[in-house]
Amino acid sequence: MTLALILLSVLILGSAAVAIALRNLIHSALLFVGCWAGIAAFYLWAGAEFVAFAQVLIYVGAVSMVVLFAVLLTRQGNELEPVKDDSFNRFIRALIAGGSVAGVLLGAILGTPMDVNTASPAPTMTVRELGARLMGPHAAALLIVGVLLTVALLGAVVLAAVDRSDQPEDAP
């Protein structure tokens, strides 16, 4: 079991790392899909069957498509061009963005009471219970996530729909 976990983490972290390092956006996107599939496999390993399949259905099936369409619709210039290392601003911004995410994650991890030593019984959560939970106590969260996804989709449309009224019809 531990071996499977190690393999999975190597797959997830490795594909994520390579995705960041690559200059080819499509390759990065596909590697992210691999990363998501790895996370789904991790859920499966942890016994959360429903979440794993939902992860595959939504991330590998749908979100990957949104990402790829977004990449193809908004890409400008040559994707193989090396990044210019002249911008100090960029570095600062990356540090702020990455740092804040890392901070939130660290806070969440440190805030969780981790009791590794006591072996908890295997979680037995049926799909029916999960549905009841989602529709009952967590309905608000579900709705907010839905709205968030809709906003993201609208944002993608706004990004993609370039106003070409100032350009002549046959401009490239």
Binding site: L30, F53, L57, M65
Partner: protein, 414 residues
């Protein structure tokens, strides 16, 4: 219905597997158990795919008053002293096709993304095969009995979209990419109708497990009328919607616009040749078979026998029989209907199938809530459910046709 009362044929495949497994030492048993299942699925559905292609070509021929392929017999093996001269009705055609595809030159465009170009056909076959894991092929014969089996089916199915994109993008051909985008747009927009047509079944059966959905359809009224979902009003219309959405989802005629062979050069498969093309072809048929199998499972009672007195025929024979009927129907439709335009395709999805499927969801909810009604109330239940099917169908159908009367031709003489 316990395992001991089943006929010998019913138990034979499972007992053969168990016998083989127990021959091995204990650590290997779990592994071998699944390996045998995988091998059986690959063998059965590989052959099924091969003969589906030849059946499709022969049936299409007959539907158009042609003969179809009937020439390929057996090759002459020089080692054998005799030679079978009979043409075997052309049934060996798929093997000849396979040899041809294997020996063809594999052309990869110079500018192509070599790795993705190679990965796409491999992944598409892998993903389409994954969907077979949750189909109950017979009593006690579901490869993996998952609690969320239906969700798994659609999860594995939706991953094939990714491979369409990979194929189109990796070819480094603008027509391939455009065609891949068209194919994706079609597949994604029909994913919703497909799911919506399936949800009523889940709602009434109260489970996502394919095995339990089949079990829920067991039993007969008066010994001859099976309790399959297709014999309920919501199930019937749901099955029709499922058929349309499944056709669109596997890019089959009349929804084969992504690779319309008379207008495009195979769409996103333009840059594929030889065995890679054959793999895409194979995946398409696996997808069709899997979706047909899902249709059988959800609406046609899975492996259940249609009559009270027929269960002596093994359950897997019933499943395969229904599967073959579904495939034949798909071929029949392909030989009959014309290809839709892209605007007709999307209009059909958004203005007809999706609203009808949503109404059908309400219908199924009504059916599930009134399951306890008895006596004359059952007739009321049936009547209301029927009205909820027929009314929207006629109204939506009329709306779909508004302003699109019979076409008139100014210069043609009738």
């Amino acid at each position: 219905m316990s395992a001991s009362t089943d006929s010998f044929l019913e138990r034979a495949p499972i007992e053969a597997r168990d016998w083989l497994v127990q021959l091995l030492p204990a650590p290997l048993q779990w592994f071998t158990h699944h390996l045998i299942t995988i091998g059986a699925i690959l063998a059965v559905f590989g052959l099924f795919f091969a003969f589906t292609t030849v059946a499709e070509r022969k049936l299409l021929g007959r539907l158009q008053n042609r003969l179809g392929p009937n020439r390929s017999g057996l090759p002459k093996f020089s080692a054998l002293p005799w030679h079978l001269k009979h043409k075997l009705f052309g049934l060996t055609q798929p093997f000849a096709d396979a040899v041809k595809a294997l020996t063809k030159e594999d052309i990869v465009p110079a500018a192509a993304d070599k790795l993705l170009h190679f990965l796409a056909p491999v992944l598409v076959v892998a993903f389409s095969l994954l969907t077979f894991a949750v189909l109950p092929f017979g009593r006690n014969m579901v490869p993996v009995d998952l609690d969320a089996g239906l969700l798994y089916f659609f999860a594995a199915g939706s991953a094939t979209e990714l491979t369409i994109f990979m194929a189109g993008w990796a070819s480094r051909n603008k027509y391939s990419l455009l065609a891949a985008m068209r194919a994706l747009a079609q597949v994604i927009s029909y994913e919703l109708p497909l799911l919506l047509s399936v949800v009523p079944v889940v709602l009434v059966a109260g489970t996502l497990s394919t095995n339990e959905i089949v079990t829920a359809q067991g039993g007969w009224s008066f010994g001859i009328l099976p309790h399959w979902n297709i014999f309920t009003p919501w199930g019937f219309i749901g099955f029709l919607l499922f058929l349309v959405a499944a056709l669109a989802e596997c890019n089959r005629s009349p929804f084969d616009l992504p690779e319309a062979e008379s207008e495009l050069i195979a769409g996103h498969l333009t840059e594929y040749s030889g065995f890679k093309y054959a793999l895409f072809f194979m995946a398409e048929y696996f997808g069709l078979t899997a979706l047909s199998g899902l249709g059988v499972t959800l609406f046609l009672g899975g492996w259940q026998a249609p009559c009270d007195f027929l269960p002596f025929i093994p359950s897997y024979v019933w499943f395969m029989g229904k599967l073959v009927m579904m495939i034949v129907f798909f071929i029949w439709v392909r030989g009959t209907l014309l290809r839709l335009r892209i605007d007709q395709l999307t209009r059909l999805a958004w203005q007809f199938i999706v609203p009808l499927a949503l109404i059908n969801l309400g219908n199924a909810a009504f059916w599930a809530l009134t399951a306890s009604w008895a006596g004359p109330l059952q007739l009321v239940r049936l009547g209301v459910s029927l009205a909820l099917v027929v009314g929207p169908f006629i109204l939506l159908g009329r709306r779909l046709n508004i302003g699109r009367g019979p076409r008139t031709y100014r210069y043609a003489t009738s």
